[in-house]
Symmetry: D2
Subunit: 345 residues, 4 copies
């Protein structure tokens, strides 16, 4: 099957290329980059030299619709919403790694993304692509809104407790930490090496785009309005996300009981690994892979459940999950092209 990637100079795109390089059913026909059209991919990303020989192209919707069946958008905010409608109308399926089709509420989109939301009929077509909770809908969709990195780690960490009604759903506090690659390849003093190395920062408290996204999922699951506290931090490392989540338990569950519940909940989901009692996952343990690893601790003294959920932000938090979604959309085995060990060390 022929696919294209739009947004060819970002980290999302190169990570898609890495996984698609080993995918048996897919060929990347085109890499599109407005800022680098006409340039060899290997000029911009020398690590692919002699492996991928491809000139990046300018976007042309009509040509693209003839050439490929599926398009990945690894673009900044407010780009895909202007392109996906035309592609979908021409019968091309789209997987959007940006946030343009994740929120349903136009006002919130405006507030957090600074522009008007995509046209309503396309928003309604879009499916939020978290495979562990949404597999059926993903199969059919033509617009797949691939989840954000923080929402992925956080939601997977909370879902069993929410769905099994084990916690007070209005008490969620998320203390989240990301590696620097989450900030992308655009230059900024914040992620200038000498500023970010040997440094640890909190940022965007109260205004991060992923707040309404997390709240939308949790509200859907809880069937009532959920608000969360979400504090993102940035860690001096390239890859990895950890969400440390605090929530009040409804009863005095033991850590062991909760782990059992979680393991049962995820037993058919190959990319979620729930750790045994006394073991918490670290980000390195999922490095380069599509796994989400979850550790639990029930603090019997205070009645709090502490959930530690880790992913590789560029894989399960972006490109890997996009491949997983593609596999589901096309009826292929979910792990196709993704069945690799994490890189350690």
């Amino acid at each position: 099957m022929d696919v294209a990637i739009i947004g060819g100079t970002g980290y999302g795109a190169v990570e898609l290329l890495r996984f698609l390089h080993n995918h048996p059913h897919v060929e990347v026909k085109k890499v599109i980059s407005h800022s680098n059209s006409g340039t060899d991919l290997a000029e911009v990303y020398p690590h692919v030299v002699d492996i991928i020989d491809m000139e990046m192209a300018e976007l042309d919707v009509d040509t693209l619709a003839e050439e490929v069946e599926l398009v990945f958008f690894a673009t900044p905010s407010n780009v895909s919403k202007n392109v996906i409608p035309a592609l979908v109308d021409k019968g091309v399926r789209c997987i959007d790694l940006s946030g343009d089709f994740r929120l349903r509420d136009g006002e919130k989109y405006q507030a957090y993304y600074g522009e008007e939301i995509a046209p309503r009929e396309y928003i309604e077509k879009a499916v939020y692509g978290l495979p562990e909770i949404n597999k059926q809908a993903i199969k059919q969709t033509s617009i797949l809104a691939n989840p954000g990195c923080y929402p992925t780690a956080t939601t997977l960490g909370l879902m069993p407790a929410f769905d099994k009604d084990l916690v007070d759903r209005s008490s969620v506090i998320i203390d989240a930490k990301t590696g620097v690659s989450g900030a992308g390849r655009s230059l900024s003093l914040n992620v200038h090496f000498s500023e970010m190395n040997e440094n640890f920062k909190a940022y965007n408290i109260g205004v991060h785009k992923h707040i309404p996204e997390i709240e939308q999922i949790l509200t859907d699951r809880a069937n009532k309005d959920i608000q969360v506290i979400f504090t993102p931090h940035i860690v001096p490392m390239t890859r990895g996300i950890m969400s440390t989540i605090y929530v009040d338990m409804k009863d005095n569950y033991s850590t062991k009981q909760l782990i059992d519940t979680y393991q049962t909940y995820y037993q058919d989901h190959p990319f979620v690994r729930v750790r045994k009692e006394g073991v918490l996952p670290s980000t390195r343990e999922v490095y380069g892979s599509n796994y989400c690893d979850i550790g639990l601790y029930a603090d019997e003294r205070t009645g709090k459940l502490i959930i530690v959920s880790v992913i590789d932000n560029l894989v399960k938090g972006a490109s890997g999950q996009a491949i997983q979604n593609m596999n589901i959309m096309y009826g292929w085995e979910e792990k196709t092209g993704l069945d690799q060990l994490p890189i350690y060390p």
Copy 2:
């Protein structure tokens, strides 16, 4: 004034040496190390070669009591409690960077430190050396229990809100992050470079020694039994601690109001810097210095106050605070030997 340092091969000791090197009133007469007695300090720490020419010595309490007026203990747990009583009986004042004299409750000491607490009469003599809340008592004491790194960052972050009765004191959640030097110089797979680099971990949830220490201080201030949630994490960098603290506000305070309260509270305390609205401190901004920087965010949506408090774990979290305490104990200006800019970048 002549002083000695016990525990000469740890990071606490070398950081004491760094600050004492520029202290106008003090000379380090002796560095004691059981494991390295007879070895030149510069063999163990080559960065002091040609600057400090000193052979490390074995501990001998009688000699020591004749040679110095003050002894710093930069020792592991359960060492100083066996030595300080004898020194104090001989009229030597002691500043203990370990946790042996911090807790008053013998059962908790036993539970978290695994041994019996120091004799009661010496525990009663000991003063908890957080200068910003305890300055008067520090002046007189002969046994100064220098606070732990996490408790320092956390307590300074919470104190104004507690003392001014702005928050529900039973709702405290502390998500803490430390640089790797907090684990000391003892070898361990956890902090082996290839295991810790490009990695982010949670550890010791529910069992960290600093839990009872934080709770003791907060309980003292609140005049009622306080329990906290405390989750420590380790960051792939050498120095720095951040405590991100979540607590329920009693009223709908604005960020600005809280900052004003904090700035007033700390106006006579030169090492606490409360940042202005919209600015959160990062760990690099206190690197190598004795500052504790605090940022605040009142989340009006959820009624939570989020406090970000950063220190250098080896300075305000250990050796710098010990010097600050010494200055107070001897009536010197609090900043003597500590008045340096953070190292940036």
Copy 3:
């Protein structure tokens, strides 16, 4: 085909497991570890939990010889020399990632490895497994001495210049830099995180085990006794090696001419990529992959050729090259199981 790995707790072993996990013709039947026999692999390396379910075993040569066709040794020095002879005698082929069978000269082995060399008849059976120069011999061998990390990067960087007689072969200076994982998983103060982070060190000047290995290869190619200057350094990162090599040119070649020669030389070798003029490879550009990337600069002012050669020390410098050798030994396509993009960033 069933294989075993001896040395199950080292980084070489886990990296073998990563590549063999995706190898179509091979199954890892057994992982042997003396220090951890009886322990689950996932206890020691949690990143494989729920993927590899295997208890590590004690070594038993007889059983092993019945169970597998091929054994990988990812062991410290002076282990495989005591085991490989017995296995080979029983018809098992061995790939040795350690240095035990690399040197032919018993005195040099004694001088650099501190023990007696393996029995002569087995040393004579062994083939030095650098596929780019030794492919024919590799096919037949039962004892494959997998090259060291530094010798791989260095030799591949020098070979075309040596073989095409472009340089004064007695003028080689190698300034080499490695990531920390090259030091393995054994604890040591040198690679304790707080000692190695934000630090850059030279080490083992004049005594590194790879000196006689490099000299042996170069001597073989030059047909005369070659001595090199070799200075290893350690870089605060986990993976990657760069050899910066200085050698006198025999004539005033241009950079362009040399690049052409190198590209022709390596045209049938898929894992060596010679960069175009003006471009030097960085270690990240081969991260996690089996590529060796080479950049050249002919300094016309001084007549020196400067060669920059990079590999991932754990892949082309160890486990990836071992897989490549296995592929050749069994007549499989050289890239089988290794055809992956480097991980970037």
Copy 4:
């Protein structure tokens, strides 16, 4: 004494501020920044908040000449050459951390710096400020050309061997490595965190501005035209430079002999520390300090001397050396304001 700093938003300037903060004879009256005039210094560098309260100013030569006795230039290339003449004419002494006044040869300046050199009369006034070889001239000068970071580490490493005629002066190869802060605070993809972290690169081979600077010093000392090979690399850490230098010995000196010669050579120079036999300095051992540490290894097999010389690029390689030069210019003790231990770890 009142001084000013021009170039207030660079790392050179903040490092000057750090050392001048503890200098007993100097007050920083003004910090000048074209790009940030009118902004509080603490807005741009939050680590100085509540310590330095100063608004950055626009440059006005006339006012400046009235307000201060000495001006530090921590500016990019080709700035100071347009300002220093006017200041010097008004009797202000200048210390220039940029390269504008380091080279005497106008053609080379043009070739490496891309513009015309400063007017000849001012170039002739300028003194190259490497205190260990040039102390007398430094005392008198009104234009102090503060050396580059690489030339400082390299020259100090070579000087005794050159001056004592121990080596073939035409055989110098310098393999140099720097931390990322050497690239300054200007944004660039090269030093974007995710590109530079876990990466090691060579750069600017054959075209680095420090080549003519090193050659000029060596040529002066050798009294004949010296050309060097100089290959700079960048290390994923913030601070530190190591020059590993290779040079042919004229005789079969032992390491011990050479160390004796070096120690004697530097006995009156407090910031150069020559390590004993068998010990090589690492960059961390001079972190944050003005020391240059040198290790030697005489390779008797090949007749090469290998010199390892380390500095903190922002201190002895820039601002610390500038303070040292100021101390000499004003007749103060050379270590004034610089007598601090390196920060370890």
